[in-house]
Structure formats: structure tokens, C-alpha cells
Subunit: 778 residues, 2 copies
Amino acid sequence: MMERKRDEEDGNGREHEHDIEIEGKESSPKGMRQPLLSRKHDSGSRINRTSQIAIVGANLCPIESLDYEIVENDLFKQDWRSRTKSEIYQYVVLKWTLALLIGLGTGLVGFFNNIAVENIAGFKFLLANNLMLKERYYQAFVAYASCNIVLAVAAGALCAYIAPAAAGSGIPEVKAYLNGIDAHTILAPSTLFVKIFGSIFGVAAGFVVGKEGPMVHTGACIASLLGQGGSRKYRLTWRWLRYFKNDRDRRDLITCGAAAGVAAAFRAPVGGVLFALEEAASWWRSALLWRTFFTTAVVAVVLRGFIEFCRSGRCGLFGQGGLIMFDVNSAPATYGTPDLLAVILLGVIGGIFGSLYNYMVDKVLRTYSIINERGRSFKVLLVICISLLTSCCSYGLPWILQCTPCPAHSEEECPTVGRSGNYKNFQCPPNHYNDLASLFLTTNDDAIRSLFSSSSEKEFQMSTLLVFFAAIYFLGIVTYGIAIPSGLFIPVILAGASYGRLVGKFLDPLSGLDAGLFALLGAASFLGGTMRMTVSLCVILLELTNNLLMLPLVMLVLLISKTVADSFNKGVYDQIVKMKGLPYMEAHAEPYMRNLVASDAVSGPLITFSGFEKVGHILYALKITKHNGFPVIDEPPFSAAPELCGLVLRSHLLVLLKGKKFTKQRIMTGSEIVRRFKAHEFAKPGSGKGLKVEDLDIKDDEMEMFVDLHPITNMSPYTVLETTSLAKAAVLFRELGLRHLCVVPKTPGRPPIVGILTRHDFMPEHVLGLHPHLHSHK
Amino acid sequence: MMERKRDEEDGNGREHEHDIEIEGKESSPKGMRQPLLSRKHDSGSRINRTSQIAIVGANLCPIESLDYEIVENDLFKQDWRSRTKSEIYQYVVLKWTLALLIGLGTGLVGFFNNIAVENIAGFKFLLANNLMLKERYYQAFVAYASCNIVLAVAAGALCAYIAPAAAGSGIPEVKAYLNGIDAHTILAPSTLFVKIFGSIFGVAAGFVVGKEGPMVHTGACIASLLGQGGSRKYRLTWRWLRYFKNDRDRRDLITCGAAAGVAAAFRAPVGGVLFALEEAASWWRSALLWRTFFTTAVVAVVLRGFIEFCRSGRCGLFGQGGLIMFDVNSAPATYGTPDLLAVILLGVIGGIFGSLYNYMVDKVLRTYSIINERGRSFKVLLVICISLLTSCCSYGLPWILQCTPCPAHSEEECPTVGRSGNYKNFQCPPNHYNDLASLFLTTNDDAIRSLFSSSSEKEFQMSTLLVFFAAIYFLGIVTYGIAIPSGLFIPVILAGASYGRLVGKFLDPLSGLDAGLFALLGAASFLGGTMRMTVSLCVILLELTNNLLMLPLVMLVLLISKTVADSFNKGVYDQIVKMKGLPYMEAHAEPYMRNLVASDAVSGPLITFSGFEKVGHILYALKITKHNGFPVIDEPPFSAAPELCGLVLRSHLLVLLKGKKFTKQRIMTGSEIVRRFKAHEFAKPGSGKGLKVEDLDIKDDEMEMFVDLHPITNMSPYTVLETTSLAKAAVLFRELGLRHLCVVPKTPGRPPIVGILTRHDFMPEHVLGLHPHLHSHK
């Protein structure tokens, strides 16, 4: 009942989500049959559960667990045995076609995104530049700032009013999804729409945000949409996609989508595969590696084709700016001990800055969530504030620095007249340029290119780099968390590159390494310090800069900065997942779990069904609880003693009850049911919205009838003995990607099931809540 | 009894392996307590088991399964609770130190290998060249062929007499080890020694073999040796490595070693990590990615250092030849539809050739294994034959082709005088060169470099390439399987590169792609067709050629050739694993397993122990069976009814019996035992040889005493209900890396365990042997 109340509260806060099936906890509420709960932690557990869920509710819409287990019931077996060769072939072809489509779609969106940003931002900068050249400085600022605010409001309003789930990077959510947590609307069509356009407006508005994280989320959304055969809500469905109506196949598709997103964002196909492997996915198979690779290859080909198309100037202001591919021209042939020491120092400091970044982002996010929860208009207001702050910084800070005279023999025009160029005149006298304005008043991609370039060796003064670094570091932290799609890669790379170049300037007398290389290594150190990836970041950086000779140095920096940062806190994505209260299952069991057994984590009483159950009883159980799995017990006279028959899912029960195959007596109607129903009727519905209890129309006389649950019961649920250590149960649960794990008694003569463990039961908050004395232990 | 007889037969065939503990089957022999076998398949199973093991015995030394489960018994818990912070810290430091050492060791060996090969082969070619220049052709052939034979005999004798396990590539064995199969001596110090020197002699002898596969095996051996704290046999042990005395930590180290091997062989650190992930490892964790990456980074740094060292000419004949890094100079800026069609054609044909290669290798291996089994001298004889054949081909074939006049304005000297160079004069008149001799009479690495080079566009005639391709393809097939360490990468790359260049010549009028690029794509297509890797091959090729712009084309070719080849047969390594009869657990369950339940695969009766067991009974059980795991049952009066207490391992039983902590009565001595023994006494011994039953000295009066098995019983064994589908049991077994899986009864009132499933019970041969009717099903 307590859970029910919470549901309603959730509903009040979030009007757009009232049609969500809320799960909360998947098993064991008020006792109906055998109240088998273990003695010691009845009341305690209840309190703890509530507080835990409150955290979840505070930050995100309600969540549902995904089920990667194959439900081996009679219907499945029937369907599986009758599967023809051509159907299997069809499935394989479809799988690869979907991978192709995901690649095409993500590549297309990635390209569109780039063209749109380049054109919108380009127009904005041209406008401001022209006014500046006429020395109408205030007008220029007003034009610049109001462009930014209009774009920011567009992005913020989309996020606040249409799809709140589209705010932020999206990588933590995709990561959680691939871990088995389906936070509703996270992959919905509306989220996709807002993510694409919100990201374009947000980046074009000059925020210190990237489009890389949102691209990953976009790729995942496209994959989800394709996999579920379109959206039922918008009446766009393809019926031949019924094979993919289960969590397992969808997980594979979304992994492909995440990889395609990175591939499209960075033009790094191998990096995309590795990102999906290292950061996004919780389960991995060799077969998936191949499919992911195919998807990212398609993305690479699509992008290449479009760039060829745009080369002839058919894409407006889209120049070399879009689709980052930075050239660090001169690779160092050799490096000596002082260079290595410089690089190690860079890595250590980068790691410290990176972990500090994570710490600050966490604090800011917590502050913002208080503001954001006050309403949608507050969200938009916050976006406007940050937009103004960004505009002031980027327009105001260049004034405090001196102008630099143009170099005598520059290949580039100085000062810059057109859209792109490194010599922005700004407020300077003729034949001078403002190097800080050249960094600020351009797109983030162009700024990174300038910093990475080794041809601009003398271009940036130390004070410029210092101011730019401080501003970007600060703006990056305060921008993440406002209601726009905002990636973390670009702010971190930008701050890291300026930091690296700064260190390079300092160590110039000692080290012979190139300034552009220092910028690259600085970016690597920041990325390692915040995101804590290794191989994927390394490959992404290599693919970005197209130079393999720097590999050893990049590896070294990444390893050092990750090691340093790991001693302070967790990676930024893990931190966000935790802050959002998502019940993420770690790959390893917590040490204290070795001191507990499986039954220690079982809480609350258990509802079980008999093999032939009364309809009224099922309906009542479905109504009063939100559980998704119920054990089915065979009882005398159908077996010698009560024994565990298997596990039945709520969604399957609802379909069965809807079919109304009831009998007056407890008799076997299994074969009839198998004949009557098709396996795909029990498949997971497209957008997570299946039948609900309220949809059922059971008459009073039917309530007293019986239904045979055997055909829909998963006869092979995974089980652990009650005395199995909780650590081992957790490993089993995690490695096999389960949703329900049955705990069975060890001694005979007791009811055949002790309880069900779900994802929530393994969460540290829950376990430590039940066993507070473990807090003192490690 | 039947198994015992087989052991002895094995012993006769392989004198050097007589000290091996043979396992055969890990559970369920002649009934001592409850003979709980399922009724239907008693006799049938026995016959099948024997035939299956016969295959294993025929090809390889006896094998043992590895156990990746943590044995959670009282001793472990005691040890684990008492672990101090500093011990945990020590463990982490050690882990990384070992990764460092593996990287250093593998890098060192890789470099030594290269220097040795370059110097020996260089000397040989110089000798032959000098004689050729004096027109003493017969003498030159004799000198060349006898050098080859001497080196070949050295390699063959090392393999045949010292370490037969060092023959072949070694990658299939490493792959099987990482899947949980410990084929004895596969990672022994003698194998390491022979692998290093055998590989040097074999490659220097001019065989069409590579040093890449052997490097992977070498890396794994180094890791294993370091992890087990040296070798007990050679009295080289480090006592502080006791933390790594378990299969889990050793598996991680060997994964690092395999990655380091690839990194050292190809100078491809990222490729090494991906190889370990895609091809070698069966289990993967994100943490391992990082450690592997560190190891390969160390390898890269070591190799770089040595190459710097050698640049000044301090390494004899070691020139640019060693440590392959091919430069495909001019990257194509654009490619059109005809180019893509050419590439697709290349991929399709490459896939067909690749799968044909696998088919032929399989046939040749089966033929050779008959010869090799006749004795060691036959092994060496076969090596001599193939060496002669290779010499004849490489010296004889160039005579049949015409000489080419030297190009007018060549940058290189023509004809070549010194050791390396593309214009071998051979039998030609002055100012002419023989292009086929330039490919044949040089090291394989140099030949690949010539083929990949785009500067040698006009150098090779079509007839040359055709003859070279046919010869290499044929020699590659007949060479694999003789008793020398022989990698498959180089033969496949060599054949693929000449094939690609040939196709390039054919399609020259249609496609504008460079000849060197065609060679690279041809190599990719062959690699994809034989080895069936995707991402790792792609990255290895990119790192080899140091050009990222070719990525999309390489990806395309790999995907096509793998797809084509997969429709014919399996990858070459999988094929060899299967041929060797190693019980490799696939990641997915076979379809027919869904029609069976767990108890259907249980065969033979079961031996169980009581919680307080009579010493004599244990000793008898250990003597008459070779099982490694025994269920422990608690019985009245110590429990209300018989219940499963857990699983006890043979190795732990032996240590416990050796300790002689016996009592006259059945009483609890658990706490005493925990006090008396240390956890590390039960740790896995270094080189797989722990106590044996024969080492125990139990007196007659002690035979009647009791021992408390509880402290060494794993109280949390993984279990499945007997009615769980076999497919689900297989997934559980594979995903968690188990050695024993307990099958428990569903109905009360029966003995608390039905049987134990081991790796062998999931093998298709075993399951289909028990249930022949399934053959007709899919």
C-alpha cells in the first residue's frame, strides 16, 4: 500500500508520465499465501525500501527492469520447435538489415546535426563579426547574446516541455539501459526528436557543450525505435519485426546504436565499437562485436559520402568545421627522458583536474535538480541564465587581454574577415588580432582544431590560454545539468587542450614536444581523468587526429590520469547513474556480501500461485501488487508434495487472462492454450506499454473459475539455495542478466520457495539497510 | 576402471608426460553411496564417454579443467576476513607489477626473436647471394638448402624431443586455456624455451611460417610462469606470489600475456588488446581491458626503445626488416563505384580462398598427425622433407620466369648487392633482375613489405605474382602441422598480399586504386577468410600500415570475406581446437539442449561424502576415481534430513588428509582445522602438480577414524534444479566459468543431489551419445 501511495505522488509531479506502468519493487508485498519471510528483518526492510525508492523517484521517472532471460515455457518451446529454416534465415537477414539501418540513420542524423550547427552558428558569428568590424560593439554584443538566448530557449523549452529525458548527455541512461534498467521515455520517439533538435540549438547557442554524448543517445533511440518496429503511439509500426520484441534482441540493437553514435560523432568507427564495449555495454558477446563493427562501418561510409557531397560547397556555411577530424601535423620522431617526465606531470595534474571536474559536476547537478524540480519555467529560466553567463564570458573576457600584431608572413589572412579563421580582429586596431576572441567567438570544434594545430605555435599567449582554460573549465561545470542535451566530451577536450598547451608553454625550455601534441595529450589527460575509459578514448583520439605514431604517449597519459583520478572518485558517468538513483548492477559483488546468504536479502512476504489458479486470486494479486514475477507451485493432488513449477510473468498473466481460457474445475487445458495462443502475443510490446490490469474485463462468475498457468510458466527459472552466499547470487544475477532469481530452501518439508531476489535486493542501500551491522565491516 | 586403463596407454605413448595427473572425467564413476543415476542411459553413456576420450587422448596430452569459481569455504572466509588493508594493497601492486613484467618480458623476447631471425636469415641469404654472383649456382643451392635443413632440424628436434606442445601456432591452445581447459605442459617452461628458439630457427629456415602465433603462445607462457611464481621443477619460485595461486588470477595474467604477444609480434598495442578480447578470451571484464592495455603499452615502449638502440647499427644485420611496420605510402584520396566493386569482388574471392585454406589445413593436419604419431624421428623426417620442398620451390621457381631489365631511374641499387633490396640479380645477366627471386629469396617480412609497397608499382609481373601466390598458398598449407612452432598470420598475409596485387593488376583498367593498397586489401580478405576476426584484424592492419584513411575499405573487405567464409566452415583456430578434441565450451547453448533437462545429461553414478566422513572411505574414493569434485551431504543426526552441504575438491581433500586432523568420533573439529591450516596451503600449486593420493601415508588405524569436511567444503556451490533445461544449465556453466555444477532434485524425499555436471557433460558428442534420437532434430 505504501508503494501505491508513492505511485500517485509520482504521477502528480510528472503529468506527462501518468500512463506509465510503475514497478517500484518486483516481488514480495503483502502476504497472500505462505508468508515465508525470514524473521529478523520484517519491519526494517520496509522502511529502507521506501527511502531507497524515494531517491529514485526524486531524480527520474519510474523505472522497470529488463529481462534478458529466455522464458522457456511451453508456448516458447512450441513456437521454437515450429520455427522453419526460412524463418531463421529471415531473422538473420533482419538482424543485419537493422544494423544497416541503424548505421544509415545515425550517420544521417550525425551529418544533419553538423550541417545545421555549422550553418546556424556560422550565421550568428558572421552577424556579430560584421557589427564588430563597424565598431558597433554594444550592438554586436546584443545581437550575439540574443541569438544565443533565442537558441538556448528553443533547446530548453523542447527539453522542459516535450521530453525531459532528453536533457544531459544521455550516455549514463544508455549505460543503465544496457545494464538492464529501463527508465521510461529514455528511448522514446519524443526523446529522439528533442535530442536531435535540442542538441543542434544548444551547440549553436554557444554553450560549452558537445554533440557527442547526445549522438550516442540519438543512436540508441534510433536503434530502439527500429527494433520495436516503430512507435505504436504514432501508429508507425512494422509487423515483421516481431522477432525483436524481446529485451535480449533489443539490447543488442541498442548496443549497436550507441556504437554508431560515437562513430558518427567523432568519425571514429573503431572507437565507436570500443566505446560500446568499454563504457556502454554490460554484457558482451563476440557475435555482437562483429555486428557493431558493421554498423559503425556503415556510419563511416555514409559520413564519407556526405562530406564528398559537401566538398563542392553545396552545404552552406558547412566548411571544414563540421565533423571534426583534427590534424596534428608534425609527429615527433623522437622523444627523450625530459619529454616523458613532462608527459607524466601532465597526466598527474590532468587526473587531479579531471576528478575535481567530476566532483564539481556532481555538486552542481544536485543544486540544479532542486531548481529544475520547481517547474518547467524554472528549467527554462536556468537555461537563460547560463546562456547569458556564457555570452558575457565569451564576449567580455577577450577585452581584458592585449591585442597581438599580425605575423609578418602568415599563410592565413590576418585579421580574419570571413566566417572561420584564427585571427579574429575583435576590438583590436587594424593588423592586430585578439587571440582569445579567436578561441571564444567560434564553434567549439574550431577552437579545438586551433588548439590542436601545430602550425599555430606562436599564436596563443600564455595569458590567453590561462583565461580560456579557467573560463571553459568553469563554464563546462555549470552548463552540465541545465535542461538541454549536453555532451561532456567537447567541454573536457576543450579544457584539456588549453591546459595541455599551457603546460607545453611552461615546459617549452625543457621539452622539445610540439605545442599541438601537448594540447592533444592535455585533452587525453582530462578525458582519462573524468570519463575513466582507456582503450576506447585512446582509439577515438587516434582516429580524430589520424596519427598512430603518438599512440605510446597517449596511452601513457591516459593510464596515468585514470589511475590518479580513480584514487579520488568514480567516473563521471557512474557518478551520474548513481545520482539518478538507477539500480545499476556492478560486475563484481560487494565484499560484505560474502558475509551474507541469499535468504538474508529476501525481504517482505511472497505471493505464489498454484499451477491451476483461481482467476479471482490472480486478479487480486495483480491489483494489489506491482510485482512482475510470481512463482508457480504445483500442489497435491497434482504432485506428491508442493514443488516449484516455475515462474510466471505479470505481462504473460495479463495476456492469458484477457484470452479467458477458464475452466470450472482444476483441469489441464495446457494443450488447448498452446493451440489457442501464439507466442508473439506474449512478446514484449513495442514501447513498453502492454496490457494493464484495468484493461481486463473479468465477470463475477469468471472470478471463481480456474486457469491453467503451466503453458505460460517458465519451467527453468534460475535458482540458488537459501544458504548460497549473497555474493555468488549477485554474480549469477549479473552475469546472466536476470530479472528474477528464485531462492529455494535447502531443507525438505518446507514450502518450495523462500523468496525472489530482484535487482533492487542487491543494491547496497537495501542490503545494508537490512543488515546495518555490516556498515562497520568493510 | 576403464578410465584407469586408458591412463596407462597414454603413459606409454608419451614418456615425458608420465608425471601428469590425469583427469578424464571429473565426476560420477562407480557407485559407492547412493547410485542416483537416471535410469535410461546407463550403459549407453559409458560407451560414448570412452570413445570421446579416445579422441582427446589421440591428439593431445590429458587435460584438466580450470575452476574460476571462488571456493567459499570456512578457510577462505577466515582468510578473507583477516586480510589487512596492506595485504589488499600489496595484491593490487603485485597485479600491476606482474602486468609490467609480462609486458617487459614479452617485448624483450619479441625483440630478441627479431634480431636473431634477421641475423641468421641474413647470413644465409648473403652466403647464397655471393655464390650466385660468382655464377656457382649448384653450390649456392646446396649452401642455401643445407642452411635451411640444419635450421629446420634444430627447430624440429627441439619440438619433437623437448616440448611437443610447442609445435604449431599455439593460439588454439591459449584460446582453449582461456576457455578453462588446461592441457598439461602447454604453458610449461620447457614449452616456452622451445617456442622461442624453435620459432627463431623455423622462421630463419625459410619455412612459410610466421612468428606471430608463437609470440602469442610465448606471451602466455611468460605470463603463466610469472603468475605461478616461477617453476617449481626448476626451483625458481617467488613465495610472495601466493595470491595468484588460483585459476582466476592466472587466467587474467594469461590474457594479458596473449595480448602482449600480439602487440610484440605486430607492434600493434591496440590490436593486441582487441585480439585478446575478440579471439583469445572467453571471459572478459572491463578491469581486464585496462590491465591488458597497460601490458601492451609496455611492450610498445620496450620495442620502441630497442629499435632506437638498433638504429645506429648495433644489431648486426637487423635492418628495417625486423619488427614489421609496412608503409603503404600514398593513400587514395577518393574512390568511386568501380573501386568499391573491385573491393567487393576481392573480398568474395578472398573469403572463398580463405575457407578453402582452412579446409586444406584440416586435411593436412589429420594426415600429418598419423605420421607424427609414429615417433619422434618421423616428426623430424617430416620437417626435413618440407624444408627441402620449400628450398626447391624458392630456389627453383625463379628459374622458370624471365628476367626484367632494371628500371632506368631507380632510387634503389639495381641489381641488389647487399642483404636487402627488391632487385635480386639471381641468374639474370647484368642490369637485369629476377622479380620472383626478389620475393622468394628474402625473409617473409621483407616480401610482405615489397608487396605492400606502392613504390614498387611496376616491379612485379603478373606471371611472377601468380607463381608466387600459388607456391605460397600451397607451402603454407603443407607447412602447418609439422613439428615446428609455426604461425599462420604471415603465410596468410603473404598469400593474400600476392593475391591482392594480382587482382589489382587484372583490374588495373577499371580501378584507380594503388597496387600496394590492393595487396593490403587482399591480405585482409585472406585473414578474414581464415581467422574470422574482424575488429582486431582491422586494427592490427591499420597499426601495421600506419594509415587510418584506408579504414572503411579494410572494414568492408573483412566483413565480406568473413561472411562468405562463414557459410563454408569454421575459423581455423576453432577448427584446430575441435580437431585436438579439446572440450571447448561455446558461448551459446546448442539448440537441441532446449529439448533436454539438466538431469538428462547426468551420467554414471555419483560418489558423495558425509559431513563427517571416514578417512578410509575418502581414501578409497580418491583412489578408485579421478574425480575432482565430490558433493558433501549432511545427514541425521547432524541435520533433520539429508541435505546438501556443499562441494569439496580433490586437491583440498588431499591436503586435509595429509594434515591428519582425525578424530575417533564424528565430532566438530572445524574451528581447530581452521586454526591449524592456512588458506594458502590449499591454493593451487604452481605448475599443476599438487599432492597425489600416492603421497599420502595413512596408517591402518587412521583409516577407521573420521575427519570433519565442513571447513573445506564450498558451502555455496552453484546448483540447478533437475528439471531446468539443459540449455540454461549450459549458459550458467559457461557464463560463470564453472568446473562443477550440482543438479539438485525438485521433489522432496529424495537424496539431496542428483548428480554433477562438468564440462564434458555439455559436449555435443556426450549429449548426443546419450540421446541419439536428437540427431534427427535440428
